[in-house]
């Protein structure tokens, strides 16, 4: 039984100049509970659009999309979103930012405050609970954003290039950390990235998309044991998968 089911999904935009843009075309995808799915694809392939439809922030044009057999028609409270930008509220401390979703959802603070503190500890931000975003490094801010997406214990985590703005070393660190968090929490993760190694490193399956119109080229299963570490990236299986994905991406883009 699949957790998320996407069938023949289509999304069209009408631009300001009246042009019709086919953002997503005939998307079919099944995601299982607790699965980590990465999505790679060139800019404009509609991967962010797909993420927003999953989060209920955009509506589909046609086709079916459902979560636990319920059609997704609008925002739902059991989804956590992480953007490329940490989008922390500057006037809130690490603890307050972490608690934001639980405040909006009116959750019992007797439960959420200890939970927030545990999450802060989980990502190594302990000691920084009362610091404001301007006092944190880029990596710390993004950690804060990730645990904010986890505070209300959502079953689905949507991540839109969460590490895109970080430097290479911090990024690898965050990959390891995200894997650790995922192994502990077993959330279903829909993870968008531009980095092929990152996609392979984190995912159970990698969805390769192509642009104009946004389509799924292939879904590749990553059969590498967990937990993976930085040495995994040198693993022949890892390299072969990365090459395969690169091949798929370049084959399509060279047609342009």
């Amino acid at each position: 039984m699949s957790y998320i089911s996407v069938k023949n999904l289509e999304k069209e935009y009408i631009t300001a100049s009246g042009e019709i843009v086919h953002a997503l075309s005939d998307i079919n995808l099944e995601i299982f509970e607790g699965e980590f799915v990465s999505v790679v694809g060139p800019s404009g392939c509609g991967k962010s659009t797909l993420l927003k439809i999953l989060g209920g922030l955009l509506t589909k044009t046609s086709g079916g999309i459902s979560l636990k057999n319920t059609p997704i028609e609008g925002p739902r409270n059991d989804v956590g979103i992480v953007f490329q930008d940490p989008v922390l509220l500057l006037w809130r401390t690490v603890l307050q930012n972490t608690l934001l979703p639980s405040e909006i959802l009116n959750l019992d603070s007797n439960v959420t405050i200890p939970r927030a503190k545990a999450l802060i500890k989980l990502v190594g931000l302990d000691g920084f609970e009362d610091k404001y975003p301007h006092e944190l490094s880029g990596g710390m801010r993004q950690r804060n954003a990730i645990i904010r997406a986890l505070i209300h214990d959502p079953s689905l985590l949507l991540m839109d290039e969460p590490f895109g703005a970080l430097d290479a070393m911090t990024r690898e660190q965050m990959n390891l950390e995200l894997q650790r968090i995922w192994l502990e929490s077993k959330k279903t993760v829909f993870f968008i990235t531009h980095s092929i190694p990152e996609a392979v490193f984190l995912a159970d399956r990698v969805v390769v998309m192509t642009a104009r119109p946004g389509k799924i080229a292939e879904v590749i299963t990553v059969d590498i044991e967990r937990p993976r570490d930085l040495k995994t990236m040198g693993d022949p299986a890892f390299v072969a998968l990365s090459q395969k994905i690169r091949g798929l991406l370049y084959a399509e883009s060279s047609i342009d």
Partner: protein, 317 residues
């Protein structure tokens, strides 16, 4: 080439003279200190030079103080106004040497009262309308054109109307000060409330946050740097508005004084009696009042908006 020449040189001084380096780091030379602390002395020194030059020019070319007073005369007029001993006008004699019936304080308190009250009223209305406009595109579309049209009118042209509507007394000045303070608040509140970025809005929307929650948790705090930028402008404008009102129609003294009060009134009286020196003294007072009021807003802003990056605070101004 240049590197080759420079490098051994710098290495040489470093290696042969390490003691000098240590001495330098412990006790930097006088010129270094002077350079590093230039923010402290540059203004006072240049100010003294500027004032001395001014004094010298006035004395050397024997310029009439009716045309351009010497700084020493201005300082004296300022001091006289501040330590004024209230004797009242000599009965029956027209005293043209000084048009002042009161010390500066009574005038300052009048103008300050008008400006501050106007600032508070104008800011509250501007902020309030900004909040209301953002709730409904309809209200905004209907009312905004009037507001913009009203704003483009020169305030000098409106001032006489305010005198007709609200009288010569303090009300017309307060309302004029409020009017000029109103617009920066209205515009900055509206811009500020729109400044939340799409990701932030999406984040709250993904949690099905209500409009009120979105406003309370995101849009309003996000607008605060803009609102404070508006307040900084408004506080200076409100002083101008009060002075403008006093120019157009002098009001009687409140708080037991005789005659007419307000720094704008005083400026008018001085200009009628060709008291240029006094005018300069009042202008200096006014600029200090403006600076002081601005500083109070700025300090409050820094206290409340400690979290905002500096660039964001200056936006919308």
């Amino acid at each position: 080439m240049q590197n080759k020449i420079n490098e051994p040189d710098s290495v040489k001084t470093d290696s042969t003279n390490p003691s000098q380096d240590v001495v330098e780091s412990v006790k930097p030379s006088f010129s270094t200190v002077l350079f590093n602390k230039r923010n402290l002395w540059l203004f006072p020194v240049s100010f003294i030079i500027f004032v001395s030059l001014w004094e010298w020019i006035v004395v050397y070319f024997d310029i009439d103080d009716f045309i351009f007073p010497a700084p020493s005369d201005v300082a004296e007029a300022l001091l006289r106004g501040l330590v004024f001993i209230e004797t009242g006008p000599q009965s029956g004699t027209a005293d043209f040497s000084s048009v002042m019936q009161h010390s500066f304080y009574l005038h300052i308190s009048h103008t300050l009262f008008e400006a501050v009250l106007g600032f508070i009223i104008g800011s509250i209305i501007g902020l309030g309308l900004g909040l209301v406009f953002m709730q409904s595109k309809w209200i905004e579309a209907i009312i905004m054109p009037y507001v913009v049209a009203f704003q483009t009118l020169p305030k000098l042209a409106i001032a006489p109307l305010f005198i007709i509507w609200f009288g010569y007394e303090v009300e017309s000045k307060v309302f004029l000060a409020g009017l000029v303070a109103f617009f920066p608040l209205l515009v900055n509140t509206m811009v500020g409330l729109r400044s939340a970025d799409q990701d932030q809005l999406d984040l709250l929307r993904s949690l099905s946050a209500s409009r009120w929650t979105t406003f309370r948790k995101l849009q309003f705090p996000n607008a605060l740097p803009f609102i404070f930028a508006g307040l900084e402008i408004a506080v200076v404008f409100s002083l101008l508005g009060a002075i403008l009102g006093e120019f157009v129609g002098a009001g009687m003294c409140m708080w037991g004084g005789r005659g007419q009060c307000g720094l704008g009134v005083l400026l008018m009286q001085m200009s009628f009696s060709a008291d240029t020196t006094g005018t300069f003294a009042v202008l200096i007072l006014l600029s200090f009042m403006g600076l002081g009021m601005h500083k109070i807003v700025q300090v409050t802003k820094k206290k409340i908006l400690f979290w905002a990056p500096e660039t964001e605070q200056t936006m919308g101004s």
